[in-house]
């Protein structure tokens, strides 16, 4: 009998004796929250592996389908990042094509992009990993003060990617920004391409809740990406993005 089990037995016995001494209906309780101690490595259950196998083959076949080629690795490195610029550009372009709406700004939360895209072949699986959640494409109407709030939020949090807007901030303060190269005009309505998670106040974007919804689509962000990449490929175009000073923070 080793020391650990000796301590456990003593503890166990003393818990029970306490229980009976008090003659209380309250239950005694013992924890053994030691995870490393859990026996040996657990193998997969063979019959389950067999059962899953045909599902897995079909899935891997489908996920392995190449839908495009990327000129470079589209990563999430940096506050302004290649992947975010790529996705928000695609989102803007898609809404313009699909709904015929002149989108001013397109955003995504960097946390919502769950994996990066590699240089070279892009598979369906890559896009599922990038966008595993079933988030829907939404278009919101913003007034000039809402656009300012958005720019201030982005400057403070630095967790968003954007297309259509340029921001310059210092010490978490918004210093300068423009939409499509112009200052924001009072009285003008701006269209924002976004996903339903953020539009419903996710990632602390409460200020977006209750804004007028121009388009509440049932199109998944993932399906949007797949469709656009396939379209570009059929036109002989590769995937690409540049860091071009959309967000500069000092």
């Amino acid at each position: 009998m080793n020391n650990t089990s000796l301590t456990k037995q003593l503890f166990f016995a003393s818990m029970i004796s306490l229980l009976f001494l008090n003659c209380s209906p309250q239950l005694g309780f013992q924890f053994q929250g030691n995870y490393k101690a859990a026996d040996e490595t657990i193998e997969q259950e063979e019959s389950f592996v067999q059962f899953v196998s045909p599902y897995k083959e079909t899935m891997e076949e489908k996920m392995g389908t190449v839908i495009g080629v990327s000129e470079k690795a589209l990563t999430k490195e940096g506050r302004e990042n290649l992947l975010g610029n790529f996705v928000t550009d695609i989102q803007k372009e898609y809404v313009e094509k699909k709904f015929g709406l002149a989108v001013d700004i397109s955003i995504i939360n960097n946390g919502g992009m769950r994996n990066e895209l590699p240089l070279g072949k892009i598979t369906l699986g890559n896009i599922y990993e990038l966008s595993p959640f079933d988030n829907y494409l939404v278009v919101l109407e913003l007034q000039s003060n809402d656009v300012i709030k958005l720019a201030e939020f982005m400057t403070e949090r630095k967790n968003m990617s954007v297309s259509g807007m340029r921001i310059y901030g210092e010490d978490n303060q918004l210093k300068e920004f423009s939409v499509n190269g112009k200052s924001v005009e009072q009285g003008k309505t701006y269209l924002l391409a976004i996903n339903d998670y953020l539009a419903n106040g996710g990632d602390n974007m409460d200020f977006l809740m209750g804004l007028h919804i121009k388009e509440n689509s049932n199109i998944l962000l993932r399906d949007m990406l797949i469709e656009m990449i396939q379209e570009k490929t059929s036109e002989g175009k590769n995937l690409n993005a540049e860091i071009e000073g959309r967000q500069i923070y000092r």
Binding site: Q9, F12, L19, Q26, Y35, S47, V52, D134, N200, N218
Partner: protein
């Protein structure tokens, strides 16, 4: 009463003497009692296989194919096992996107789950998406506080179920999280959300009327929030009568269960085991001859 005082004395003597004696006292107690083993998961999130071998911190760990081995192992060691889940078995890997939950429910059925409940991600393909997959679940999916009566899921779920193991009656009910703002409104339609605290009180009353010896709540409310939002800890402090809350939603890896003693003196055990079948919660309950809980112990197991 005589027997009780004998036990008390022998245990105290045992402690004063040697380990050998205390172990004997222990085993004599165990022989006269019944035991129930509760094993449980939450937020499996379509983790059919272990996490991919990509150098990440969970690489090769978790997943339902490994979980099945561990469940078998526990079953071979214990007689009265109840396998429970607290929801969000859907969504998280392409298996869900492609097969819409069929594989998750089939594997849970094969593992012999006794009951689960609806997490918010079960609504990811709408009410239709739940209805289409229900035939694959050969276990009980419980829901006590979603009112589906005006929807296509009318009468699809029971609010509670009573399991009998060696004469011990275990009452299980299930509480879901408020869907508004969390799930797209078109995905839950005319589902009505009922107050978890009020529903819990009704369920406890009902289960006690049915003379349950152990009352378990499968919860997808979440472990703890700083805000006023209801969570497992608040539920335990506001409601008396739940012995065990098996939680989910917040993907909380509790190193050991939390004991909540409320103002009325009732103690509830709250446990939650992360996500992705990376852990299996295990709680052993001992019952006296009169089927009262005398002792509980816990050891959450890692699936690596």
């Amino acid at each position: 009463m005589q027997r009780r005082s004998f036990l008390k004395n022998s245990i105290l003597t045992g402690l004063g003497l040697s380990i050998g004696d205390s172990v004997m006292a222990l085993s004599s107690l165990k022989a006269s009692s019944k035991s129930i083993t509760i094993i449980h998961t939450n937020d499996i999130h379509s983790r059919i296989e272990p996490f991919p071998n990509d150098g990440g911190r969970n690489a090769n760990q978790g997943g339902m194919t490994k979980l099945a081995s561990l469940v078998n192992k526990v079953r071979s060691d214990s007689d009265n096992v109840l396998l429970l889940d607290s929801g969000d078995f859907f969504q998280g890997t392409p298996y869900f996107n492609l097969y819409r939950g069929e594989l998750e429910l089939k594997l849970m059925s094969q593992m012999g789950y006794d009951a689960s409940t609806l997490g918010n991600h079960e609504f990811d393909n709408g009410l239709e998406g739940i209805l289409q997959q229900l035939e694959h679940a050969k276990f009980e999916i419980l829901s006590s506080n979603y009112d589906f009566s005006d929807t296509i899921l009318k009468e699809a779920f029971r609010p509670f179920k009573i399991f009998k193991k060696s004469g011990i009656k275990i009452g299980v009910f299930a509480l879901g999280i408020s869907l508004e703002g969390l799930v797209g409104s078109k995905n839950y339609g005319k589902t009505k959300y009922l107050d978890p605290v009020e529903v819990a009180k009704e369920m406890i009353e009902e289960l006690k009327r049915n003379r349950c010896d152990l009352i378990i709540c499968l919860s997808h409310l979440g472990y703890s929030y700083r805000s006023e939002k209801i969570d497992d800890l608040k539920l335990a402090s506001q409601v008396s009568g739940i012995d065990l809350i098996l939680g989910g939603h917040t993907h909380t890896f509790l190193d050991e269960p939390t004991l909540v003693k409320n103002a009325e003196g009732h103690t509830t055990i709250v446990n939650q085991v992360g996500t992705g079948a990376l852990r299996l919660g295990k709680l052993d309950f001992e019952f006296s001859n009169s089927d009262k809980i005398t002792f509980a112990s816990s050891r959450n197991l890692t699936i690596y």
